[in-house]
């Protein structure tokens, strides 16, 4: 656990000083929201509200891809990845630290994206902010657990930046289904649907445990 906390501390500190990932993700997310604004036909608030869950999760997923891609490419600089690989004990703790750092950074950008989405499309997300944050956190945990594993696998390949979305997007289908379904119900009824939460918890746990165990072999060259 101390290794996971060390990796989390290191990732957040380096990001705080460089801000390259957060800025890239934030700018990209804002651009996606603006593009949606101009791409979608003029409609009533009700139509926009029905499309909002899908649109907001599209923005979340593509923004997360940028952050996850960068998550391990910074470890290639000076071959710092070898330093992580030489850490004793279960390498899964390194994975957990990286995944937690990704979760924190992606979550920060998601909060900003949701606010921008609400403003641009005139949606009242403030009244369900806590519930929305809970569903977003569950969906993001799934994205970060499998995404961190795949980012580590792809980083040393020649076409890693292309390979990563090709590998990651299919595995995110159950996460997206649960998250969009949950967000849709929440915006309609102002209540968190149990079925969607149940699906997200099961998928998150499966991805988290699998990734933790597989990470031992991913760090080998």
């Amino acid at each position: 656990m101390r290794v996971a906390l060390a990796v989390l501390w290191k990732d957040l500190l380096t990001e705080w000083r460089s801000r390259d990932r957060l800025v890239a993700m934030a700018v990209f997310a804002l651009l996606v929201v603006v593009i949606f604004h101009f791409a979608l036909p003029e409609g009533t608030g009700r139509q926009i509200a029905s499309n909002a869950p899908g649109l907001i999760w599209v923005a979340y997923v593509f923004t997360a891809l940028i952050g996850l891609n960068r998550s391990f490419s910074q470890e290639l600089e000076n071959d710092a990845l070898s330093g992580l690989a030489l850490a004793p004990g279960e390498r899964g703790w390194v994975f957990l630290g990286k995944a937690a750092a990704n979760f924190t950074m992606i979550g920060t950008v998601q909060a900003m994206t949701a606010a921008a989405f609400g403003l641009v499309f005139d949606l009242d997300l403030g009244s369900v902010a806590l519930e929305l944050a809970a569903i977003t956190a569950l969906g993001t945990a799934g994205i970060c657990s499998v995404g961190t594993l795949i980012a580590a696998m792809a980083v040393r390949t020649r076409f890693g930046e292309v390979l990563m979305p090709i590998l990651l997007l299919p595995t995110l289908v159950p996460v997206i289904v649960g998250a969009v379904d949950g967000t849709e119900h929440l915006l309609e009824t102002a209540r968190i649907p149990f079925d969607a939460v149940q699906l997200l918890i099961v998928v998150d746990a499966t991805y988290l445990i699998t990734s933790f165990l597989c990470f031992e072999y991913v760090l080998d060259e």
Partner: protein, 246 residues
């Protein structure tokens, strides 16, 4: 020359034994059946021309690369059966393994935390003092020259006080004083019972420091020698001869 009767404290001793190490990258064979023995309190010098397989060999011993064939044992432990073997290995590679945005101190503290040290900040302070980097301890690694970064990388490799230390061309970028300090430290570590590997093109240091020499050419062991090693000029001549034959 080192006194063979020097005591070898059991808590610092760990021998390395590699047998039949092969490594293929696609159709290219980087290593072809290499055997290596590094008893504790010994320094093995690995020599050879560029592309001979020296770095591949040390990365395999470090556990960073899986061999295509062959086995490596540390003392009684097979590395795949004992993850904690990684905690006994220190590695200085071609790259520094440093994070440019972190200061020298933070890089060492992070490495110490990865190795679950009880007091990584204190250990970082000790190593910075030993390497003469105290004045740079709060400067980010991205501002370091090649030589300063190399000194910090060497400190980083020792943060967990490993029993096996692998150095892949550690003298690169070091000035005369820093190179001499490193050579003296390698001698001290050996006397303390550590198993050491030094990959180098510096025949003078190889001849001075080594207990054994291994010359690789084209992925094979072309020459072996035990202490007392040949002189630097003899090693140079042997190296040229074997490289030409390969």
């Amino acid at each position: 020359m080192r006194d063979p009767a020097l005591s070898r404290p059991p808590d610092t001793a760990l021998s390395v034994r590699a047998r039949g190490i092969e490594k293929r990258f696609g159709s290219f064979s980087a290593l072809r059946g290499v055997d290596v023995d590094i008893p504790s309190a010994h320094l093995l010098v690995v020599l050879g021309p560029n592309g001979a397989g020296k770095s591949t060999l040390v990365r395999i011993v470090a556990g960073l690369l899986r061999p295509t064939a062959g086995t490596i044992e540390f003392g009684e432990a097979h590395p795949e059966k004992c993850r904690n073997v990684r905690g006994q290995i220190g590695f200085v590679g071609h790259a520094t393994m440093l994070y440019p945005e972190l200061t020298a101190r933070e890089n060492l503290v992070f490495a110490g935390r990865l190795h679950a040290l009880d007091n990584p900040a204190e250990r970082a302070r000790e190593l910075l003092a030993e390497e003469g980097l105290e004045a740079w301890s709060d400067r980010r690694a991205q501002t370091f020259s090649r030589g300063l970064a190399q000194r910090l990388a060497i400190a980083r490799a020792r943060v967990h006080d490993p029993r096996v230390l692998l150095h892949d061309e550690p003298f690169t970028g070091l000035d005369g004083a820093a190179a001499e300090r490193l050579a003296e430290r390698l001698e001290r570590l050996r006397e303390d019972g550590r198993s050491l590997v030094l990959v180098t093109h510096d025949f003078r240091q190889a001849s001075r420091l080594g207990d054994q020499a291994l010359l690789l050419a084209n992925g094979r062991v072309a020459y072996r020698a035990e202490a007392p090693l040949p002189s630097a000029s003899e090693l140079d001549e042997i190296s040229r001869h074997e490289a030409a034959r390969a």
